[in-house]
Structure formats: structure tokens, C-alpha cells
Amino acid sequence: VADLRLPPTLTPLFAGLPRRVEVDAATVAEAIAGLEAKWPGVSDRLCEPGPVLRQHIHVYVDRRRAALETPLEPSSRVDVIAAISGG
């Protein structure tokens, strides 16, 4: 299973959503769909119509920048980053 790490801006929006989640998924899109099944609405916070990742949501699979279709290995680490700076 992949080790999914979520940004601190996301978890307060969904009761019980932890910062680290283990998901059984073959792609980033499947991993997000897995979250959506358990925490409805999560997908809309990470993706916009297309679907594509929201502009300032960056996903890294095993430390490489990824897209929704990026494949996951069974032991992949997936970092989801809220990725703009500013005050």
C-alpha cells in the first residue's frame, strides 16, 4: 500500500482525516478516489474539472512531481503539498 501524506490545510475540513493515510491504489487518481470514498468532498479540495490537480496542489510520488495519472508502486510515498507561498 502507498503511504499518503496530506497537507495541514486539508485535514481540518474532514472529520477523522489523518495527516498520513495508507491507500491501496495504482495511480494518484485512484488514491484520491479512495480518500473520496471514505471522506466525501476530499476530491473537490484537491482536483478541479478535467479532472486535474488544482493549480496549487502539488503531488510528489517518491519525491518526483506527479499528476493524477502517475502510477504508484506498492510501497510508494505520496506527498500532497499545498504549494504556494505568501502571507
Binding site: 490545510t9 475540513l13 473537490d44 479540495r45 474539472p49 478535467g50 496549487h56 496542489i57 499545498a82 504556494i84
Partner: protein
């Protein structure tokens, strides 16, 4: 609200709903409105463009857009203590090139909650904000082909920047398309009519009926035919529910401004905050003032007692001034540098309720038991 058991004392609570760049705040006082407490930030400190109270259900709604997590409407059933958000249905669909980059203007029309979006569209909720559906994009109105073109959608432009509802008729409301003009529907959003006749525009326009820059519409609660607006160029008045307009700018220090508020009981009293129209968009000369007319715009008076009169370069945005409905109404405005000012004597004198809020984008008031 009069509590007869306590000798007729007014026991109502006055709440200010303040939308800021860092969340929604709630300020609370009693009917005297002298001492205020501040609660917040709510909505996880998302940028909140507008927050309103639905007197019918008692709910608060807050239109918000996170740079990370997109647009949503937050709702609270307990006057701000707890919140939930939803964006279900807040979109134009997978195959539509238009995107909802922001939801920024709320209105309550009977059982429906309305929210205006950018790109321009009005979404409605009939279940208290749990789900949303597209009500209208004002398709076919003059100018819509231009505002529906995604290449004309720079961030921060061309949304529905204001919705004004009619307490007496939930099927009637007005929507402002930013940089295009004011539109009215009388059938719940199915058909629309431009309401810009008589307005001024100092730029070329392609259509006779649109191309106007309406910043803020204020409809008199005492006379629904009486409307005022702060426009990019001038302050204007209508005596026929927006069907025709004439200018009442003479006597003001600037024709430019954003915020506007109508007196709740007297249709001839109206407030604006003139701003420097250049890059500053602040109150002129570093001296803070609200301007009032008591005769429908024939003359204006400067109200500044209690407001800072030097080095006060304050801006006030379109939704950031409002009145309450008390017998002697209160007037409130928030600044883009985070100050919140109030007057409880119709503007004669002012006090600062908060000095260090985030940039204020909207101020609305609720009087509850």
C-alpha cells in the same frame, strides 16, 4: 425584540459578520451596541468574500475561496460556533471551459440561498447549503458572449460581484456582473433584464444596455423602488426600481468608491465612502470619512467625528459597509487594513470596534434574539 418580563428591555443580540482575507469573524453586542466581543477566525481562515445571516433559518453562510482547495460555501447553524463547508454542485461541469475561480456574493431569497461566482454565474441551494446547482449564467444577455470567453477571465475580474434580493418577493433579485452592469430577474433567475439605463460610462461600449461598472447596489428597505449605487464613475439613484438612473455625485469629493449603504427606515438617507480613484483607492488626503445624504443626493455631508483624521489611508471595499435595522440604526464599515468602525447614531459619531483584523472584504449585520 422586547422582553416584556424584564420590563420591555430590548434583549436582542446584534452580530456583525465580517468576511476577511483570513477567515470569517463574528462581533457581538447587545441592542445598545457599545461593547463588542470578537470571535474568530472561522472557516479555517479561508479567504471569505461575503458572509450573510439567513433570518428565516438562523444560519450563517460564508462564500469563500481557498487558493489551495478551491471555492466553497461554509455554513453555520449556531451563529458561528461550528461550521461545515460544501462545494457539491459549485461548478460548470467537466466539459465547460468556464471555471469557478471564486464565489463572492451571497443572497437569501426565501427558501433558496444564492451565491454569485466567477466566471459569472449564480448557484442556488435549496437544502441550506449542503448542495448547490447552477441557477443561471445570464446566458444571452448583451455582453455574455464576452464574459463567457475564458480568455476574458483574468483572476479577480468579471464575476457576479453582488446579489440583491427582495424580501417581499423571493423570485425577484438583482445581480451585478462586474464591469458589465446590473441585471434584474422577476422569475427566480430564468429571464433577465439589464437595468443600466441612464448610467454613465467614460469608455466605449459595444452594447447600449451594458458596459457599466456597477460597484455596489443599495436598495432602500423602506421603499423598494428607491435604489442607489456607487459606480466606478459616480453615485447614482433610481426611483423606479432600477429601470432608470440619474447621477447624484455633485457635492462628493470623489466620484469613485466601492461601498454604499441605504438607511433602513428613510429612503432619502444614503451613505457612501468616496475614495481616490487612482492606484491608492483610499480615502482622500489620509482623512477618514463617510458621506451622507439626507435628501436623496441633492446635497452631501461629511461624517468624520471619531474617525482618524491624519495619516489614515483607508480603503473600503464594495461589501464592507452596512446598516442594521434598529430604530436608531447602526452603521458599520471595515477597511482593507483590518479596522472596523461603527456608528450607533446614524453616522454622526464613530468608534473603532477592532483595529487589527485581516483585510476586511465584507460586513453584514444580524439582529437576533
Amino acid at each position: 425584540v422586547r422582553d416584556l418580563e424584564s420590563g420591555g428591555e430590548d434583549v436582542s443580540r446584534t452580530l456583525l459578520l465580517v468576511g476577511t482575507r483570513k477567515g470569517c469573524f463574528v462581533l457581538e453586542s447587545d441592542a445598545d451596541r457599545r461593547d463588542w466581543s470578537v470571535r474568530g477566525p472561522y472557516c479555517e481562515s479561508w479567504p471569505v468574500y461575503h458572509a450573510v445571516h439567513d433570518a428565516g433559518s438562523g444560519a450563517i453562510y460564508a462564500a469563500a475561496a481557498s487558493e489551495w482547495h478551491g471555492s466553497a460555501v461554509w455554513r453555520s447553524a449556531d451563529l458561528g460556533e461550528t461550521w461545515a463547508l460544501s462545494s457539491e454542485g459549485l461548478g460548470y461541469g467537466e466539459d465547460d471551459p468556464r471555471k469557478v475561480s471564486k464565489v463572492s456574493s451571497l443572497g437569501v431569497a426565501g427558501e433558496r440561498v444564492l451565491v454569485g461566482a466567477e466566471a459569472p454565474g449564480v448557484f442556488e441551494s435549496r437544502d441550506g447549503g449542503e448542495t448547490w446547482s447552477l441557477l443561471t449564467t445570464l446566458a444571452g444577455q448583451p455582453g455574455s458572449e464576452a464574459w463567457d470567453d475564458p480568455s476574458n477571465q483574468p483572476p479577480g475580474h468579471l464575476g457576479i460581484s453582488g446579489i440583491t434580493t427582495d424580501a417581499a418577493d423571493p423570485s425577484r433579485f438583482w445581480a451585478i456582473v462586474q464591469g458589465v452592469g446590473l441585471f434584474e430577474t422577476g422569475d427566480g433567475g430564468e429571464t433577465w433584464t439589464p437595468r443600466n439605463r441612464g448610467l454613465r460610462a467614460d469608455w466605449p461600449r459595444e452594447h447600449e444596455e451594458v458596459g457599466f461598472c456597477v460597484h455596489r447596489l443599495a436598495r432602500s428597505p423602506a421603499d423598494g423602488e428607491r435604489m442607489y449605487q456607487q459606480n466606478h464613475v459616480g453615485v447614482h439613484r433610481s426611483d423606479d426600481g432600477g429601470r432608470s438612473w440619474f447621477e447624484i455625485t455633485d457635492g462628493l469629493p470623489s466620484e469613485f468608491g466601492f461601498a454604499a449603504a441605504a438607511h433602513p427606515h428613510d429612503p432619502d438617507i444614503f451613505y457612501v465612502i468616496p475614495l481616490d480613484p487612482g492606484h491608492a483607492r483610499c480615502m482622500p488626503d489620509g482623512r477618514a470619512a463617510v458621506w451622507r445624504t439626507r435628501n436623496g443626493g441633492e446635497s452631501w455631508e461629511r461624517l468624520d467625528r471619531g474617525l482618524p483624521q491624519h495619516d489614515a489611508h483607508l480603503g473600503v471595499l464594495r461589501a464592507a459597509m452596512t446598516t442594521d435595522a434598529h430604530d436608531v440604526p447602526g452603521l458599520y464599515f471595515g477597511t482593507s487594513t483590518g479596522q472596523l468602525f461603527a456608528s450607533v447614531d446614524e453616522g454622526e459619531s464613530w468608534s473603532e470596534l477592532a483595529a487589527y483584523l485581516p483585510p476586511v472584504w465584507s460586513v453584514e449585520v444580524a439582529v437576533v434574539e
